[in-house]
């Protein structure tokens, strides 16, 4: 008999007022009993509406059924058939707009906690099973992957399984892309990402860090060196600023810089050398996951007041629901329908305030969301000593500038075929944020997967 509870079984979490001063993971995960109990809420629908909402078509009711049967290893393997990073996706996917949005149980209550169950299965496997990966038989062909975010890692993982000799080139000293430099430890422990990367290396993937593709090594040079196909998974790492007065004062950061200092360079830990300012009042501009992560990091570094300044209303916020909820619990102050117009500073050029204007929602714009318009005469100032701009990123032009013939659109995104990732250059494929602009982990993985398949077909067709 199914569990007919209208709500998801809550996932144990660190107390908000404790966790807002540490960097440990917020959600602690289900126990085996809890997982089975939540799994019982799944009705195992015949037509599986949830699966259609998953960009990589995880076999959702099937893995949940295995959890019900206490076959946790089986559940993990079922997810793994189509999703190469379950522990990551279970934590960071926007399930509420994907699989869970289509769950039949939402007609009368909350959806099944699909994300939580996915995470449970992955964590359970990592903790309880220590399987040595078996090296696939080499097929004698070399391929290169530029960028080691979720798109690149997935593509490399699928190709190595097919027997390819895969080399990943990464610009940073560490692989993982946004998973390591952007998303904070308290949401996605870095040990989990590292474990996934280690598995790839075990399978024989080679990793070359400190190599900036395009500049240090070009696409043509890679072909000359015998790589037969190349995947570009270089992400969307170029930070945008608002172009308002005062943005270059001391204490104004892009979210990328703020988060990189904290997450990749571990500025929050005493044993690392990275400096980060010590701030009392912080304003974070934006309403996405990046803004929530920045605000919650600022709080954890000891800021007393942390504001989210967002120009639309809360309904339009692109952040995952859970992150907004967590941020509020941790004491982040939401200034919605507000837009900064100027950043203020003292006579030494250090930020001491931000001037904002109130907004109201007008007619819908191209994105279908109602366009925010300023309310005349409603300007006000917030006293802050740090401002973090989390208003979006676009693809870095380095790859395009150094790859003649590589077509990009007017937003700087690489033009690639939707189902194969094929770019304007033969043998060159692309996917993830580099193609779509800033999007999600799961879409990047999906694109990496599709490209791996197309690259394999391309190389085999050449023979």
């Amino acid at each position: 008999m199914a569990n007919m509870s209208k709500t998801k079984l809550p996932i144990p979490e660190q107390d908000p007022l404790v966790r807002n001063s540490n960097f440990d993971e917020v959600a602690l995960g289900y126990t085996e009993e809890m997982a089975v109990e939540e799994a019982e809420r799944c009705l195992n629908c015949k037509n599986k509406p949830c699966e259609a909402g998953c960009p990589v078509n995880v076999k959702i009711p099937e893995f949940i059924t295995l959890i019900k049967e206490n076959d946790f290893e089986g559940a993990y393997k079922k997810i793994k058939e189509t999703n190469s990073l379950p522990a990551v996706c279970g934590r960071v996917c926007p399930q509420e707009t994907q699989c869970e949005a289509l769950c039949v149980r939402t007609k009368n209550g909350e959806s099944v906690g699909i994300g939580r169950l996915e995470r449970f299965a992955a964590d359970w496997y990592m903790k309880n099973v220590d399987e040595k990966a078996e090296k696939p038989t080499p097929n004698g062909h070399k391929v290169a992957v530029i960028g080691s975010g979720p798109a690149g890692l997935t593509c490399a993982g699928d190709l190595v399984q097919l027997g390819y000799d895969v080399t990943i080139f990464e610009a940073f000293h560490k692989s993982g892309g946004v998973l390591v430099y952007g998303i904070p430890e308290f949401r996605l422990p870095k040990a989990i990402v590292q474990a996934e990367i280690d598995k790839l290396l075990e399978l024989g993937v080679k990793l070359e860090t400190n190599v900036l593709g395009g500049k240090v090594i070009t696409v043509d040079e890679l072909f000359e060196q015998g790589y037969e196909a190349i995947f570009l998974g270089t992400g969307a790492g170029l930070p945008m600023f608002m172009n308002i007065p005062g943005e270059n004062y001391n204490g104004v950061y892009s979210a990328n810089e703020f988060l990189t200092r904290i997450n990749l360079m571990k500025a929050y830990r005493g044993d690392y050398d990275t400096p980060i300012g010590v701030f009392k009042n912080v304003a974070v501009v934006g309403g996405g996951n990046v803004a929530m992560d920045s605000a919650r990091c600022a709080k954890r570094l000891g800021a007393e007041n942390v504001y989210i300044v967002y120009r639309r209303s809360e309904v339009e916020m692109p952040a995952r629901l859970e992150e907004v909820h967590h941020a509020k619990e941790e004491g982040i102050i939401f200034k919605i329908l507000c837009n900064p117009v100027e950043i203020l500073a003292d006579d030494r050029g250090y930020v001491d305030g931000i001037r904002c204007i109130e907004m109201e929602l007008g007619e819908p714009d191209d994105s279908g969301r109602r366009r925010p318009v300023p309310k005349e005469g409603s300007e006000f100032e917030l006293e802050v000593d740090c401002v973090v701009m989390a208003i979006g990123t676009s693809p870095n032009p380095i790859m395009k500038d150094n790859t003649p013939g590589l077509e990009v659109n007017r937003r700087g995104c690489i033009v690639a075929d939707e189902s194969t990732g094929q770019t304007s250059l033969e043998g060159v494929y692309a996917g993830g944020d580099a193609v779509t602009g800033a999007a999600t982990v799961i879409l990047a993985m999906g694109a990496g997967k599709d490209a791996a398949k197309a690259m394999d077909e391309y190389i085999r067709s050449k023979k």
């Binding site: 610009a171 000293h173 400096p275 300012g277």
Partner: protein, 282 residues
């Protein structure tokens, strides 16, 4: 891991090193820089490429011990390794077509200015190099510089060696002497921000094209953080990808000076703490 193949102390404060990094050496050009990390807990710091040997696969850097990272780097010996060495980054210097130039280096900046002078000189240009130091004991690379230019003008603040006074004194003299002919087509100034600012002000009077190499706070060096932003001609630029060289007459030096001071306090603390620990260990 990247091996240190050569190390030499140029003076009390300044160290020259060669690092084995064939991919970097293969592509390096004058004016570009690298980013390195000494160890896992270390910061990423940018250093200008002072030279390279494509055959040996080595890249030369010259640095001054100013903080914790440069101090720990200076304690590494030949044969030891550092964690990371990424590059070449930034745009190369534009030296084509230059016939007569003045290259100004101040303090450690001379180490960066000298390869610039050399590149111009090798390319057939007539080069006056002005190298400024606080005092005689701090003079570095004198022989190298002599070989890399047509005329070397050493200046010391206290007059203990070469000419007496700041580099701008000599710079003004050269430009004044040349006023009629107006034969210099480029001035390059590399050194402390304040020196570059005054060089820019000096050359502006004479209307000679002037280039400076900026070395702001950086993390990635690839354009992804924006920490290195500088205002040039009223527009925000990322020094790591749009530079590091910019038209000196367009740079907002006061803003650059302010931004570069941002982490000074914390860095000084880290440096002092590190020195104390080292002394305790002795």
């Amino acid at each position: 891991m990247y091996k240190i193949t050569f190390k030499k102390r140029l003076n009390e404060q300044v160290v020259q090193m060669e690092i084995l990094a064939p991919l970097v050496a293969k592509k390096a050009q004058p004016g570009q820089f690298i980013i390195l990390r000494v160890n896992e807990e270390g910061e990423r710091i940018p250093l200008t490429i002072a030279g390279y040997d494509r055959e040996k696969g080595t890249v030369q850097v010259i640095f001054q011990i100013v903080g914790k990272t440069t101090l720990s780097l200076s304690q590494k010996e030949e044969g030891e390794f550092i964690s990371d060495f990424a590059g070449p980054l930034g745009k190369p210097s534009e030296i084509e077509g230059v016939q007569k130039a003045i290259v100004v280096g101040g303090g450690l900046g001379t180490a960066i200015a000298y390869p610039y002078a050399k590149a111009l000189h090798d390319n057939g240009a007539e080069v006056d190099m002005i190298a400024g130091f606080k005092t005689k004991d701090l003079v570095i690379l004198e022989d190298e510089m002599k070989r890399a230019c047509t005329r070397l003008h050493i200046m010391t603040d206290d007059g203990s060696y070469g000419g007496s006074g700041m580099v701008t004194v000599r710079l003004k003299e050269l430009l004044e002497e040349d006023k009629e002919k107006n034969s210099y087509d480029l001035v390059v100034a590399i050194g402390p921000l304040i020196m570059m600012k005054f060089c820019a002000l000096t050359t502006k009077e004479y209307g000679v094209k002037t280039v400076v190499s900026l070395n702001p706070i950086m993390i990635d060096g690839t354009g992804m953080c924006g920490g290195c932003r500088v205002t040039v001609g009223g527009e925000t630029k990322f020094a790591c990808v749009d530079g590091p060289e910019f038209d000196a007459h367009q740079v907002d030096f006061d803003e650059a000076i302010r931004r570069s001071a941002f982490y000074k306090e914390q860095e000084t603390k880290a440096y002092e703490a590190h020195k104390c620990r080292l002394e305790e260990m002795r």
